[in-house]
Symmetry: C2
C-alpha cells in the first residue's frame, strides 16, 4: 500500500488524497506538519532532501516527491491522464503552469494570511502576490471561456485536480473569485465528480486569521 506523507490543509498534499480516493486506491496517510518543522527533521530529510510534502513511499521504501509528478505516476494508465502524446503534454503544460504561475502566488498568499503572524513582514508582499495570482486566474478563465470544460482535455483529470487544489481556496488568500464566472462553474463541476473529497478546514487559529481583512 502507498504511504502519503502530507499536511492535510496543503492543497499540494490534498491533490493526492483526491486522486487516490477517486481512483479507489487504498493508501495510508501520515500527517506531517510542514508549518512547524516536521519536514526538516533528519528522518524526513533522509527520505526527501528537499524537505517538502507531499511525498509518497512504496512498501519497498522507494520515494517519489513533487505533487504533480506523483499525480502523473498515479494517473498513468487511468482515465485521469489520457490522450495522445500531444494531449498528455498539454496536461503537463498546465501542471507546470500551476506550479510556476499559480501556486507561488495563490497558495503563498493563503499561507501568509493564515499561517504567518499578524505582524509578519511577509504580509507586505500580499499586494504583489495578488496581482500575479490574478494573472493566473485570468489565464484559466480564458481557457474555460474558449469552450473547454476541463483543463485535462475532453474529460476531468489530473490538470483539473492540480489547478483545483488552490483555486478553490483562493478566497482564503484574498482573491475575489466571483470575478471569474467560468472558474466558479468549473469548480462546481469538479466538486460533482464521483468520489470527490474536500480538503479539511484549517485549524481554528488559522481560520480566525484567514477571516480577518488584510
Amino acid at each position: 500500500m502507498i504511504t502519503v506523507y502530507g499536511y492535510p490543509c496543503s492543497g499540494n498534499c490534498h491533490k493526492l488524497k483526491l486522486l487516490l480516493t477517486q481512483l479507489g486506491r487504498e493508501f495510508k496517510w501520515v500527517d506531517i506538519d510542514s508549518t512547524c518543522g516536521e519536514t526538516r527533521t533528519p528522518e524526513f530529510l533522509g527520505k526527501n532532501p528537499n524537505g517538502k510534502v507531499p511525498m509518497i513511499e512504496l512498501e519497498d521504501g522507494r520515494i517519489l516527491t513533487e505533487s504533480n509528478a506523483i499525480l502523473c505516476w498515479l494517473a498513468e494508465g487511468t482515465p485521469f491522464w489520457t490522450g495522445d502524446a500531444w494531449q498528455r503534454a498539454q496536461v503537463l503544460s498546465w501542471l507546470f503552469f500551476e506550479q510556476y504561475s499559480h501556486e507561488p502566488y495563490i497558495a503563498v498568499a493563503r499561507f501568509i494570511r493564515g499561517w504567518s503572524p499578524l505582524d509578519s513582514p511577509r504580509r507586505a508582499t500580499l499586494a504583489q502576490l495578488r496581482e500575479r495570482g490574478h494573472q493566473a486566474l485570468a489565464v484559466m478563465e480564458q481557457h474555460l471561456a474558449a469552450g473547454h470544460e476541463w483543463f485535462s482535455g475532453e474529460a476531468y483529470g489530473i490538470a483539473d485536480i492540480a489547478l483545483f487544489a488552490y483555486t478553490v481556496v483562493a478566497d482564503e488568500g484574498g482573491f475575489d473569485v466571483s470575478r471569474y464566472p467560468q472558474i466558479r462553474e468549473w469548480l462546481a463541476r469538479v466538486m460533482k465528480t464521483p468520489g470527490f473529497v474536500a480538503m479539511p478546514s484549517p485549524p481554528v487559529e488559522v481560520a480566525s486569521r484567514l477571516a480577518l481583512p488584510d
Copy 2:
C-alpha cells in the same frame, strides 16, 4: 517543422535548442525578447495567454507552452526520457523541482543582476534568493554524491537538460558553484554529450552588469 519562440539567453528557452539539436531535429527559431515586452503583444498573447517564452508552434498552428512540458513532448519515445513509469515519474519530479525550487531563485537572481537597473529595488531580494538557490544546489549535490551520474536515470536525459540550463550560469546570479564539486563534474559531463550546444553570451550591456559585484 517546429517553430520555437524564445529569448536566446533564457535558460528555459535554451533547453529546447539543446534537446532539439541533440535529437538532430530541424527547427525554426524565432527570437522573442521577453525582457522588452515582446511576450506581451496582442499577437503573442493570442498564442500564449500566459505571456511567456519558450513556446513551440507546429505547422498546423497548434501551440505548446512551458519549457519542461515541451521537453517531455520532444523526448517522448527517445533515449532522453526512458525507463518504466516509476523512472519516468522520477524525471518529472526533477523537472518540477527545477521549476519550483531551483529556477525561481537561481535564474531569477541572474535575471535581476543582469537585466535590472543597478538601482532596482529588486536587488534587495538577492540575499534571500541566494539562500534558497543554495538549498536547491545542495539537493542536487547530494543526489550526485550518492553515486548517481545523471538526474534522468541511468543515462543523460531531459532532467539533466532542465537542471543544466540555469546551473551552468548560476555564477552569473552570484552563486559560487565551486562549493559543489559533484555539480561541477556533472556540468562537465553534460557539456561533453554528443551535439551539446552552449547558450549564447548575454548582450554586452547585460554582461557588464553581470560582471559587477552586487
